[in-house]
Symmetry: C2
Subunit: 385 residues, 2 copies
Amino acid sequence: MTRKESSRNGSIGLVKTHSVTFSGADSVLHLESGNTLHPLTVAYETYGELSSEKDNAILVCHALSGDAHAAGYHTRNPREKPGWWDLMIGPGKPLDTNRYFVVCSNFLGGCKGTTGPADIDPATGRRYGLKFPFYTVKDMVKVQKWLLDYLGIEKLLAVTGGSLGGMQVLQWSISYPEKIKGAIPIAATARLSPQAIAFNEVARQAIMSDPSWNYGLYEPDMQPESGLALARMIAHITYLSEKAMLRKFSRRMINGTEPGFKLEADFQVESYLHHQGSTFVKRFDANTYLYITRAMDYFDLHQEYGNLKKAFEPCTGSFLVISFTSDWLFPPAQSQELVKALRQAGQNVSYCNIGSDQGHDAFLLPGNRLGDVLSGFLTRLEKES
Amino acid sequence: MTRKESSRNGSIGLVKTHSVTFSGADSVLHLESGNTLHPLTVAYETYGELSSEKDNAILVCHALSGDAHAAGYHTRNPREKPGWWDLMIGPGKPLDTNRYFVVCSNFLGGCKGTTGPADIDPATGRRYGLKFPFYTVKDMVKVQKWLLDYLGIEKLLAVTGGSLGGMQVLQWSISYPEKIKGAIPIAATARLSPQAIAFNEVARQAIMSDPSWNYGLYEPDMQPESGLALARMIAHITYLSEKAMLRKFSRRMINGTEPGFKLEADFQVESYLHHQGSTFVKRFDANTYLYITRAMDYFDLHQEYGNLKKAFEPCTGSFLVISFTSDWLFPPAQSQELVKALRQAGQNVSYCNIGSDQGHDAFLLPGNRLGDVLSGFLTRLEKES
């Protein structure tokens, strides 16, 4: 192990993103919106080894701005940041790659390797843009199922993910109950509140108001950066809590302590948001942002299945529902609603409301008990017959 | 009384906005930013009659998007909406115009008659735009003091207002303690939280990202409507509560119950926000929005006076601090911090945390106990010697 590698303590190390293209005549994807997609490429990563009994696979579902790269590093560049859930996935970590085979794929309609609005439409030779069909969380889960079939995984030990990832977990437990032993929705909800829809809508308006958006017809290097950055800034406020912002920034100025009497960033919280916005536009596609937020808005298990109890009746696995006390975007009450409905539907469910001032993003951050809670539940799951 | 007038039940009726221009050599306004303004016009309205003892005057301070027109109507048009606090001001209402002489002025730097960024700079003959000097809540209060001097009011029975209006109330009690018998800050704070600054900043970015903004150099009929509307939409989310949005809109669609699979407004909460945005741009100036939100950001009684107790030590009147349980923009804890500091400073203070699911905007809405609380306190104030 080189020095650089040893500084990446506890990481799975170098990993690669793989991809598979479903192009056979039998692999036309029928979407909930009534449209079809074909062919379809899925980007994914795996960590650890699938056991000979094929009983140690865990599917990790990513959130809005995530991708297949959940753990480890793609290069030896010591400045590279690891995958988005490196905190949880790796040797000796809660999703212990010495014991589990962890799979993460970029979801349908993402912009990180799986077919989405930023890709070339083979029918026209041009980027899909707004010609890409609308897709739902259920569609995303269907594509993940295709991937697992391709990988030869018949049953998952567990499926987990936070935020939009947690929505996918819930949909997995309903769409393919026989395929999962355990489901762990984190900071999730059965449906967005109107307030969360409102925040998605102002973020979309930020993008669509940017003249560079041009009704989705922009070149990859000419995307509506200003609008997308603003969308990210708005959303980022909702990922933190008031208390976390107070702890991180208080009302500190960038320079000194006196008001600068200017419109440019003067408070540290402002420059932090600007930084969040400007780094996001380098790694994300604006049209994709529109589609994914719409998929979140439309997700509604109450509406789709009549009520939440009915939605969960077909489930068979064990559930661990996790929320964070300071999450005001997907508040604990929404997780508690899931727990109540799961119990009414006769499911085996544990619930943990983790104390944290980190807001919705707590599932991505150190400093809370998520890791312990996850590893405890996974160990229990392994022992279940 | 005509039929139309009688339908305006309990209103003060027809009112006019007056204005006064301070143009004398002794009326150069020295601002906290170090700049000066001269001449200065102030738009104001009054309701009721000043008593011969001049002891019944109440100053009402408006919030971000308010103006001098706090009560009554400007025309006989039956479709006209009354002033922004008509609910509270009028004959027999909590601010009873049969008993009190109520004054409301557009604050310094507003765009509703008082000199501000949207006005012509007499030095250049062109609109101020970004040449307008930055102003603070303390500057606003200084100008209100000029107006009261002009109106011959030596001492106010009370000064009141909500949100940014409440900040002005607090500044009044510190800047001119001998001039007020009672102070009623409503849904106010001694300083914005970093979260509130963050929301102001994304709203400003929405305006400044609109190419029509043109660094503030736009013609009145060519202002950055899209950016200003978006700013208002963002802010409006913070004025409501999650619960109020759930009650008002739930997840109802505009048409039917099924997802429309489109980017245009599909949920009622979206079209509501669009309506809020598009009506706002007809009545408000984009540059002014930038300046006022900055004045809010910079307001910090802790920082300015060393600490909050010290800030309130010079006060002499009675205080009634009012918050609303569901206000998450200026949360009750911030009002409770005011109450604690006022008590430590030896002030006479009452506190009322009014139960409401209406969020920050509750002070503008019927359906809560604000009116009762206000009229009770005013009656008590009258009796105080």
